[in-house]
Amino acid sequence: MRIGLFVTCLTDTLFPATGQAVVAVLERLGHQVEFPAAQTCCGQMHFNTGYRREAMPMARGFTAAFAGFEAVVTPSASCASMVREYFPVLAAEAGDDRLAQAVAELAPRTWELSVFLADVLEVTDVGAYFPHRVTYHPSCHSLRMLRVGDAPLRLLRAVRGLDLADLPDAESCCGFGGTFSVKNPDVSAAICADKVTAVRQSGAEVVCAADNSCLMHIGGALRRQRSGVTTMHLAEILAATENTGRR
């Protein structure tokens, strides 16, 4: 399958190893992955902060950059939600029939990585080896909006050597919330404190998620506590083999 990698702005600028991991996993499964260089941020940050008009060029740019791919895969449940759930809203609000048509064609083919692997390709064992105790944080957009269900857990359970730890109160938000963390830093940090307590209670060495945004937030608190618990995107765990070190 010819797949377009939608890397997302946050992963591109702060966590490029995640993008490389997505490519490694998909190529290992025999797919051809391309990276259209014209891609930009999906506009979620603008949309969620009330700048809907400013998000429009990014929605248009997305449909132009990824037109023609059989599937668009992204290591972000949050950004996949933006494309699948809110691009149609944006197009309808703007009364832009051309964009609405382009979104109707592309949005259903835009997938968050774990859903693409487990539900579209129907692969749970991606050939990964990761001999560590890992817990999984179901990010809000993956859980409540995209409803990825247990796709990430099915993938993690199939990783050789991996010891999957239950995360107490897993379904609680980590407190990041995009620009919420900037506008309400104290509440954001307080929510994160509870999440980090749960992560440490799980006994995991590594906490993973389908969104680097949450991991950035959780990781910031874990590092300041000198907890020794690290954050890793799900894709990087799935990309790990006997021949790769842990970061």
């Binding site: 109160d169 506008k183 309400n184 830093p185 104290d186 509440v187 940090a189 307080a190 509870d194």
Partner: protein
């Protein structure tokens, strides 16, 4: 919008949420209490959710009913009035908070009372009924325990169905002790 009572803290004019939250999240006892309350509520919710296979469909149906009702209030309010009247009740209509409060004050006075107990109601919280009654010389006392704690603490409810959720036990205890014994009938 009624003018806020001078002795009551108001929603308008409170510090912006991020500033108010900065002080609240620094309160360790409050954080502990809220963690406990949240877990209790979530466990109860999980138990209720587990009883039903189609709870999400039920939730969607309930939302649709509420949305439909709100979009057709002109029909449903008149139907409600007809049914209440048929059952022997009387429905008062008010254009705004001031008129609603004046109707209640009039009813209390018509009963020859200067003291009234009231049930928990977020609507009367928003219309400032207790303050309006006080301005008319009528003493209103909340009957709902949680609402009473808020009232005795000269506070405002911080949650629609758990009004004192940002109060802490020592504060509530002090305020209850300070005011309850003084409120015996004369």
């Amino acid at each position: 919008m009624t003018a806020p009572h001078p002795q009551m803290p108001t929603y308008l004019g409170m510090p912006a949420f991020p500033a108010a939250a900065a002080a609240a999240v620094a309160d360790s006892q409050l954080r502990r209490n809220l963690t406990h309350a949240t877990h209790t509520i979530r466990e109860k919710r999980a138990g209720a959710v587990a009883e039903l296979a189609d709870w999400e469909a039920l939730r969607a149906a309930a939302k649709a009913i509420k949305d439909h009702t709100l979009a057709n209030l002109d029909t449903y309010l008149l139907r409600l009035e007809a049914n209440v009247t048929r059952a022997g009740g009387h429905v008062h209509w008010a254009q705004d908070a001031a008129e609603a409060n004046a109707i209640v004050a009039g009813l209390v006075r018509a009963a020859g009372a200067d003291r009234v107990v009231k049930v928990k109601s977020m609507t009367t919280q928003e219309t400032g009924l207790n303050e309006a009654l006080a301005a008319e010389g009528i003493d209103a006392l909340e009957t709902d325990l949680a609402e009473l704690i808020v009232q005795l603490g000269h506070d405002r409810p911080s949650h629609s169905w758990c009004p004192p959720s940002t109060g802490t036990a020592p504060r509530s205890g002090r305020s209850s002790g300070a005011r309850c014994p003084t409120r015996r009938p004369a």
